[in-house]
């Protein structure tokens, strides 16, 4: 009963070279084969099809999952160009994959359910521990996908995942990796179980500011009015800007820096909602649903809060493992954090590695949205879609 892991990374300019180099680096750290499972994160510089084929050819066709991202994290390396790979060979951890392609906004929930069923096919009696899911950036109502998954697994089942992105290269397509197929407008997922422990935690580090407001009229992810005024009034008032001003690109950083926080019932925790854009009538289009009548706040943060929140997430994982070291760590951090922290982003990664163990293989990516259980003290809390968070999945 053992688990072996290998981490590989390459920044070679050619796709085939980079994929092969990263794969062989990871493979070289294993002493026995075959490789059971591979997690791949690649920036948009590399052709996704060639990336997957080269990796699988070098590693012997293992189960493969992952997605494209703007930033690849492998150990202490943070790169806006590169391919990162984690290979797993384990008799303890059982993994089953699934994917759904051509997902349109018309049937997001059923796509989520279909994905959940597909991942369960191989599992049968084996203990299920958590689901890792990757979604496309250009499907705004990801919350429905999550609802679909929860319909099959139940609301308490631990689900984590990320929304793949390519924002730094301003591309309009992202890819979700499933075996040798780079899928777009799709979902790919890995159901993880067997004889292993999984710790999930996520924190955002944003604090509410100003008086509480109420989302008085909402349609899905679009907030029509706040406190019976047009929704954009919140930003207009706080930043002394007109609706026209807010439409100008020069003011777009405001929406990133000051997202909305939805206060959850009986909890001091706030669900973050990044405002993607503002409609002509002043409606705020968020990345994820906002319940009508919910208490919302303008949120703000700083570098210290962000770093501390990542550390808190790591401490929570450490506590859940009760002194045992995880076998590997998967990090899904909001791209906002990378952009906001700049060079300090690496400090956030180093801080969590210092807490969880510097010798534990760590792979990660920067996402446009993170899926994780909200009440992180209870590891089996309900998973939600959040923005701006630092999300950790530790497998031990």
């Amino acid at each position: 009963m053992s688990t072996q892991l290998g981490l590989g990374f390459s920044q070679q300019p050619s796709t085939a070279q980079a994929a092969r180099e990263a794969a062989l680096e990871a493979k070289s750290q294993l002493s026995s084969y075959p490789i059971d499972f591979v997690i791949v994160f690649a920036t948009a510089h590399y052709g996704p099809l060639e990336t997957l084929r080269s990796i699988r050819q070098a590693l012997g066709e293992p189960k493969t999952i992952g997605c494209t991202t703007s930033v690849v994290i492998t150990g202490d390396k943070i790169a806006t160009q590169g391919i990162g790979i984690l290979v797993i060979q384990s008799s303890d951890i059982k993994i089953s994959l699934g994917s759904v392609s051509d997902v349109t906004s018309a049937y997001l929930k059923s796509a989520g359910s279909q994905l959940a069923r597909l991942t369960m096919k191989e599992f049968k009696e084996t203990r299920r521990n958590a689901l890792l899911v990757f979604c496309d950036e250009f499907q705004y109502d990801h919350i429905h996908i999550l609802a679909g998954i929860q319909e099959i697994f139940g609301k308490a089942f631990p689900i984590t995942g990320a929304i793949s992105n390519s924002s730094l290269m301003s591309l309009k397509e992202t890819y979700q990796f499933y075996q040798d197929k780079p899928l777009t407008h799709a979902l790919s997922a890995a159901l993880i179980g067997g004889n292993c422990q999984i710790g999930l935690s996520h924190r955002h580090g944003f604090k509410p500011i100003g008086r509480p407001r109420f989302a008085t009229k909402v349609q899905g992810a679009t907030i029509k009015s706040i406190d019976h005024k047009r929704a954009s009034f919140l930003y207009e008032e706080y930043f002394e800007l007109t609706l026209d001003d807010l439409h100008k690109k020069t003011h777009s950083p405001i929406l990133n820096l000051y997202p909305l926080g939805i206060r959850m019932d009986d909890d001091r925790e706030y669900l973050l909602r990044k405002v993607n854009h503002i409609l002509g009538d002043g409606s705020l289009v968020c990345q994820g649903d906002v319940p009508e009548g919910s208490e919302i706040h303008l949120m703000m943060t700083n570098k210290d809060f962000l770093k501390q929140s990542a550390m808190n997430a790591a401490f929570e994982i450490k506590d859940s493992f009760r002194g045992r070291a995880p076998k590997f760590i998967l990090v899904m951090a909001s791209l906002f954090r990378y952009e906001f922290l700049g060079k300090d982003f690496v400090k956030e990664i180093r801080a969590i590695r210092d807490i969880l163990g510097n010798d534990i293989p760590l792979i990660g990516m920067c996402s446009s949205g993170e899926i994780a259980p909200l009440t992180s003290k209870e590891l089996f809390g309900q998973a939600v879609l959040n923005n701006g968070t630092f999300s950790i999945m530790a497998v031990g």
Binding site: G210, R211, Y238, F239, K249, L257, N302
Partner: protein, 508 residues
């Protein structure tokens, strides 16, 4: 009350109305009082709640005002932080680029190192470095964000309308911040970039190129710090290109110099070889001639001596006088030939020195004894200041005695009546320094460098009246140098001359 009575009358409790009045009257009054109090209290509570609500509302308003202040300050701070980060990143990039291009002295390598990424590292979307070729046409040496066709269009546009180049020639930079709208439109048209900076690259030869950087995206306008960065970079490019040019000039001149030196060295080596060949031929000639001369001279001298003895027959006095002259001149000639042979032998390395480690004092004494009569004749005071502890020297005793005899006899020759000659020695760590000084007529400065040359004789009254070969000092020098010593002379006209020479101490 009447109403109450009626109500009570209508009830069927069987109790009379008055009794009921007595019972319920006060109760009603009390209840009414309570109700009135309760209503009053509720009103008071509502009033307090209203006041508190107003206060809460006011607190929320205050909170919002503070929040507005905080977010606006935070926004400014974030913007400042972002600008600072950008500035730091740009400065760092500028430092790297400057270091990279200043560490090469090849213009092509400078362009190569500027390459594609310098503008990106400095935070610009587009860049173009146009340098003038020898025909004064602009050629693109490094660019980013332009297609080949776009670069060609830019070159053509500048060629056709160089009005903005004229402004650059004056050393002014042009940017979307500082230009007149008409000029801005023209530059935007040429470079298809909304926000731009153009800096001239001016060397001593005038404007040799221009550096264009810019952004097409509206959210990335040019700032004053961008202008400064671009100006620093263009200046750094200028400096690096000038250094490269200077280096090339120095390199070429060094190559020429090296080639000249090599040529001259070759000529000198060949001249030296020729001289050596001539010198060797001369030595061989002198040696051969001397040998050939010495044999008949010995016969001449022998026959003259026999004749002078009178054994062959009576010699008349005038014949005897002539024979004596023959004998004397023969002696002079033999000495001259011997000296010549010695010089030739030592020069050619054929003279075999018989080095022995010995005490030099007896050798010096012997030389002095030989010359004492001549000193007495001129009443010359001879002072010998030899150190008491002269170490043993490894020398050829005969040759070194010749050195002392030669130098002392020269001193006697050029020192007048009642003069003085001093012989000193100073032991040094590795050699012994000897000095022979006289109070004679001295040697002119112009003669000093040639003094040790073969056959050189100083032109003075004494030499004019006395015969000499001009080989004595040459021989002395050759002997000293054959002993790994050095010889030099110091002299002042009419004050005297001092010969210095060193002889190495024997190895212990």
């Amino acid at each position: 009350m009447e109403l109450l009575k009626q109500i009570l009358n209508n009830t069927t409790f069987g109790i009379d109305t008055d009794t009921l009045l007595i019972i319920f009257g006060p109760i009603s009054i009390v209840v009414a009082g309570f109700m009135a109090y309760f209503l009053f209290r509720q009103k008071m509570i509502i009033r307090v709640l209203h006041r508190n609500l107003e206060k809460l509302e006011q607190s929320f308003r205050d909170l919002d005002e503070q929040a507005k202040l905080i977010v606006r300050t935070d926004l400014v701070l974030n913007k400042t932080q972002e600008e600072l980060d950008k500035r730091l990143t740009s400065l760092n990039a500028l430092h790297k680029i400057s270091f990279s291009i200043s560490t090469t002295l090849d213009a092509d390598e400078i362009y190569h190192r500027l390459g594609y990424s310098f503008a990106r590292d400095l935070g610009f979307e587009k860049s173009c470095l146009l340098m003038r070729d020898p025909l004064k046409n602009f050629q693109c040496q490094a660019q980013r964000g332009f297609s080949k066709e776009a670069v060609e269009n830019i070159r053509e546009s500048i060629h056709k309308d160089s009005s903005f180049v004229a402004a650059l020639k004056e050393g002014k930079s042009l940017s979307s911040l500082n230009c007149l709208p008409q000029k801005i439109d023209k530059i935007i048209q040429i470079f298809n970039t909304k926000h731009f900076i153009i800096n001239p690259i001016i060397t001593q030869e005038g404007m040799v190129g221009l550096l264009f950087v810019g952004n097409h995206t509206d959210s990335l306008p040019i700032t004053q710090s961008d202008e400064e960065l671009s100006a620093i970079l263009s200046n750094q490019i200028r400096q690096s290109l000038e250094n490269a040019k200077l280096f090339e000039a120095v390199f070429r001149s060094r190559k020429d110099l090296e080639s000249n030196v090599q040529e001259r060295t070759k000529e000198l080596t060949s001249a030296l070889d020729a001289l050596k060949r001539i010198s060797r031929a001369k030595s061989e000639f002198v040696s051969a001639v001397s040998h050939e001369l010495r044999t008949p001279l010995t016969s001449i001298k022998g026959y003259a001596s026999i004749l002078m003895t009178g054994k062959i027959g009576h010699i008349p006095p005038d014949v005897k006088e002539r024979l004596e002259k023959i004998n004397k001149h023969s002696d002079n000639l033999v000495k001259f030939i011997n000296d010549l042979l010695d010089v030739a032998r030592i020069e050619s390395g054929r003279a075999e020195m018989k080095f022995i480690t010995t005490n030099i004092i007896p050798i010096i004494d012997n030389a002095c004894d030989i010359l004492t009569p001549q000193m007495k004749e001129k009443n010359i005071q001879f002072v010998m200041q030899l150190g008491t502890a002269i170490p043993h020297l490894t020398i050829d005793a005969i040759q070194i005695e010749r050195v002392f005899i030669n130098l002392l006899s020269n001193a006697i020759k050029f020192t007048g009546q009642n003069g003085s000659i001093t012989l000193r020695s100073q032991p040094q760590p590795h050699h012994v320094l000897f000095e022979i000084s006289d109070t004679g007529i001295g040697i002119g400065e112009e003669d000093l460098p040639k003094l040790f040359d073969e056959f050189y004789r100083v032109d003075n009254t004494i030499n004019q009246n006395l015969q000499g070969t001009g080989l004595g000092l040459t021989l002395v020098k050759n002997i000293i140098e054959a002993h790994k010593g050095k010889i030099w002379v110091a002299s002042k006209l009419n004050q005297g001359t001092t010969f210095h020479f060193t002889l190495p101490v024997a190895a212990t």
